[in-house]
Symmetry: C2
């Protein structure tokens, strides 16, 4: 009985992971319930024993994935020295290999506009955005909240733009410019 509940929770986790990868790779409307279940090693009929609807899956997978990123940023921002923590967050976010891997990319940059249109999902996302801003602010001198907000914007926008560019060199230029600007602790040249 204990074992059964654990197994069910594990299966649920596999469905969430499969959905997370596929949604990021092909877009939310580009992936059906049956593709998600197949990726999780199951058949599509079983889906509704785990989630009431595709929409509920979308909400949960988005929230869970972003919460994981936010928790990571918070941990980094509390552990090291502010300068190193900021550089760590910024560098890993803008790493070209990471940017190229849609299926593991940050939800904000990979599914942002698609989620923004689904008003039901937004409340589950907003707290993690605040948490990410707070993590960045913790790496900056006091009173730099506006800078933290702008840095998060720069990171997200740079990934969106780099993925849009047909030319890998230009994409790289965008990422390194964003790294240079967002990684700076003081707004001084």
């Amino acid at each position: 009985m204990r074992t059964t509940a654990e197994r069910k929770a594990e299966t649920r986790g596999r469905i969430l992971d499969a959905a997370g990868e596929l949604f990021r790779l092909h877009g939310i409307d580009g992936v059906g319930v049956d593709a998600v279940m197949h990726r999780a090693g199951l058949t599509h009929g079983g889906f509704y024993a785990y989630f009431p609807s595709k929409e509920a899956l979308v909400a949960e997978v988005s929230a869970a994935s972003l919460a994981r990123s936010a928790a990571r940023w918070e941990r980094i921002s509390r552990e090291g020295k502010p300068q190193a923590a900021l550089a760590d967050i910024v560098r890993s976010y803008l790493d070209p290999a990471h940017v190229a891997a849609f299926e593991r990319g940050c939800v904000l940059a990979t599914l942002g506009p698609e989620i923004a249109r689904r008003h039901g999902v937004r409340p589950a996302i907003t707290p993690s955005i605040r948490q990410m801003v707070d993590a960045l602010a913790r790496c900056l001198p006091d009173g730099q909240r506006a800078a933290a907000l702008a840095k998060l914007s720069t990171l997200v926008g740079a990934v969106v733009l780099a993925r849009l560019c047909d030319d890998a060199q230009f994409a790289g230029e965008i990422l390194s410019a964003a790294e240079q600007v967002a990684g700076r602790r003081k707004n001084v040249d």
Copy 2:
């Protein structure tokens, strides 16, 4: 004959406009060919007299819409004084009313990730991105190309994030922080 050709071109423009609004409002995969044609005041069967496929429509509408934005930025950057031009571009991009209007929003922030997944569309988009970066660079002191790239990233990211936030006040905070940082001509506090 002349009149007929003109009328056909005008109808084509109406289809492009309708698609531009609907794709931004509901996402590319969230809008069918028949919804686009209906919005343009036609029936769905006529579509293929204008475009070979929905995919071709997506490419053309994205490229045309972004080209229009890029041309506007270029004009602004060439007309006024650099400081005023930069402020004009940044303020209008981040204007909360403009951000709220998905159907007229910038293609980069509204459809960015969806377009990035369609590799066929990217080549038609990239030149406009370059043009926008160049327009921003023209508003900055010489040798600030990295700053121009980062500013464009900040603008796009701020709009994506503001739309994701459930809380209007927090969204406003993001937009004004981005305006403050991206509107600054010298990277000095």
